[in-house]
């Protein structure tokens, strides 16, 4: 039984037949979406399947996940909270602002939030950050997985308003939702170009194809470096 921290709050676990990524359960005894719970040396971990989470896939691809125990994270495209719950595990002393625009999907997320005090659920459209600007403050990390067109643009307008200087963007780009005919490669390039061209100050430090966990998806890590005027 081994448990090695591969990044703050993300563990690589081997126990019997169970192996893979996991986060330390902030709400011991309770699972969120049917994931397996594993206890090692008195700590309970929740197994984290990279096929169900872009963020887990990014971690497995050895991308640096700059989330710390006290990070403030803005999570765009929270859905029912599968990945949000793991981010919540990773920031026991921080906060996750979880934005989702589908009332149907956010229902599960709300139920989970009742048990996890570091999540702030927000029913809002990520293309209109001003609709949650009275709620969300500056953040260290933006994680975005909205699977819809203009992904880079959405990241930019949110970063401009909420991302601290030196803060990081973790972006999952889905090729098929941007354009159905263009090749994924072209779309990835285009979106990254949009990110870097904008004066919001993004520097892309890493990008990885997320296959075989997610086809036609690219994970991007970027840092916001504003040159002081």
């Amino acid at each position: 039984m081994v448990q090695k921290e591969m990044s703050d709050g993300i563990f690589n676990i081997t126990k019997g037949s169970r192996r893979g990524l996991a986060t330390k359960n902030l709400d011991p005894g309770a699972g969120v979406y049917g994931e397996k719970l594993v206890t090692i040396e008195g700590n309970e971990y929740r197994m984290w399947n990279p096929k169900r989470s872009k963020l887990a896939a990014m971690a497995l691809k050895r991308m640096r996940i700059p989330i710390r125990h006290d990070s403030r994270v803005l999570y765009l495209g929270a859905a029912s909270g599968t990945t949000v719950s793991h981010v919540s595990d990773m920031v026991p002393d921080g906060v996750v602002y979880a934005v989702e625009f589908s009332a149907r999907t956010i229902r599960d997320l709300v139920q989970m939030c009742e048990r996890r005090s570091n999540i702030v659920p927000i029913l809002a459209d990520a293309t209109h950050p001003s609709s949650y600007a009275h709620i969300v403050g500056p953040v260290d990390v933006i994680f975005q997985d909205v699977a819809q067109p203009n992904q880079a643009k959405i990241a930019i307008i949110n970063a401009r308003r909420f991302l601290k200087n030196g803060g990081h963007l973790l972006l999952s780009i889905k090729a098929r939702s941007v354009d159905t005919v263009a090749s994924p490669d072209k779309i990835f390039k285009e979106e990254i170009r949009t990110l870097e061209a904008d004066d919001v100050g993004f520097h892309v430090s890493n990008r990885q194809d997320l296959s075989p966990f997610h086809e036609d998806h690219m994970g991007v890590v970027a840092e916001r470096k504003i040159v002081k005027e």
Partner: protein
């Protein structure tokens, strides 16, 4: 020096031009419910939002709303959960009801067809000569059960007494009767749902109902995901809406290939001569778009819409009384003499 007013979830603040807090009007932190309702309200407002990068957590402490960061997150957590719950409840709008009702209608059709076919198979072993299906079959079996119960006056008595079908045991009869009653009830439900849609459409979208008919109107709302979205679509899209779905179905299951969107079920189009249909569809679609916009923005009933539509259709009919001559030559390019279009 100009101060700005900003709105936050915990109150209204005043900042000077270097973003320092000069004044604040904070809300009662004990009243989670009020905070949550207000949070929901201010989400619709995009005025007076805090400047980019403004730290609300620090400000809340400076105002004395909370005494530390943990308290801030804990309170924000509670309030945002409640606000999101209100948001989820608000999402159950009249057009959501219509969308669900249309979905229910389709599910009922599918279920009723499937079960009727089964009933027909099973009951057919007993009374193969009975020439009924779907609702009529279900009603027949539900009331009569075995064919031997038909009286001599019944029109089907002859067929029943000379049937080649097998006998039906008491157990089987009871079972099939119950099954048939349930199927009849599905058809009954279907009518109720249809009435419900017609009634709701009359309230939500009277103009759209008037132009498209309540059921087609409801289907358009359901396909686009709501009246606001439908109102935003160009009428050229409205005209072909529903065609893609039919196309996929066609590709998957050899259903007949679709020519048109769902508005082609409109009686004004369906009953028109084939050469006028496209033109009529265009004006119907245009009026549908207009009607849905009026429903969304004013809600007033505009009877002139329908009148105007009828006038336009009459013009089309007058202008194209006869089918266009079919060109016998394979239409060669460049050779087009601009036949009737």
């Amino acid at each position: 020096m100009i101060n700005v007013k900003i709105i936050t979830w915990f109150g209204t603040l005043e900042l000077d031009d270097s973003e320092h807090l000069v004044d604040c009007d904070i809300l009662d932190r004990m009243d989670i419910d009020h905070l949550a309702r207000r949070m929901r309200e201010i989400q619709q407002e995009t005025n007076d939002i805090p400047p980019a990068g403004y730290d609300l957590c620090d400000a809340a402490q400076e105002c004395g709303f909370v005494s530390n960061g943990e308290e801030y997150v804990s309170l924000l957590h509670q309030v945002s959960i409640q606000a999101t719950k209100y948001g989820v409840a608000e999402s159950y709008t009249p057009d959501m009801r219509i969308i669900q009702a249309i979905g229910t209608l389709d599910d009922l059709d599918e279920a009723a067809n499937l079960l009727s076919e089964r009933l027909s198979e099973w009951y057919g072993l007993h009374f193969p000569e009975l020439d009924k299906n779907t609702e009529q079959l279900a009603n027949f079996v539900a009331t009569h059960g075995s064919r031997s119960t038909l009286s001599a006056e019944d029109a089907l008595f002859e067929k029943a007494s000379s049937s080649m079908g097998a006998e039906l045991s008491d157990t089987d009869e009871t079972l099939l009767k119950g099954f048939a009653q349930n199927i009849s009830a599905l058809y009954e439900d279907r009518r109720r749902i249809e009435d419900y849609i017609i009634g709701s459409m009359g309230q939500l979208a009277p103009n759209l109902s008037d132009i498209a008919g309540p059921l087609i109107g409801a289907r358009l709302i359901s396909m686009t995901g709501g009246l606001p979205r439908l109102a935003r679509l160009p009428s050229s899209t409205v005209q072909v809406m529903g065609a893609n779905r039919a196309l996929f179905k066609h590709l998957r299951s050899r259903a007949p290939s679709p020519k048109h969107g769902i508005i082609f079920n409109h009686p004004l189009i369906k009953n028109a001569p084939w050469w006028q249909r496209g033109k009529i569809a265009r004006v119907v679609a245009a009026k549908i778009s207009l009607a849905s916009r009026i429903d969304l923005y004013s809600g007033r009933v505009e009877l002139s819409l329908k009148d105007d539509l009828m006038v336009r259709i009459a013009t089309i009919e007058a202008a194209h009384p006869n089918p266009p001559a079919r060109s016998t030559v394979k239409s060669g390019k460049g050779k087009s003499k601009g036949g009737r279009r």
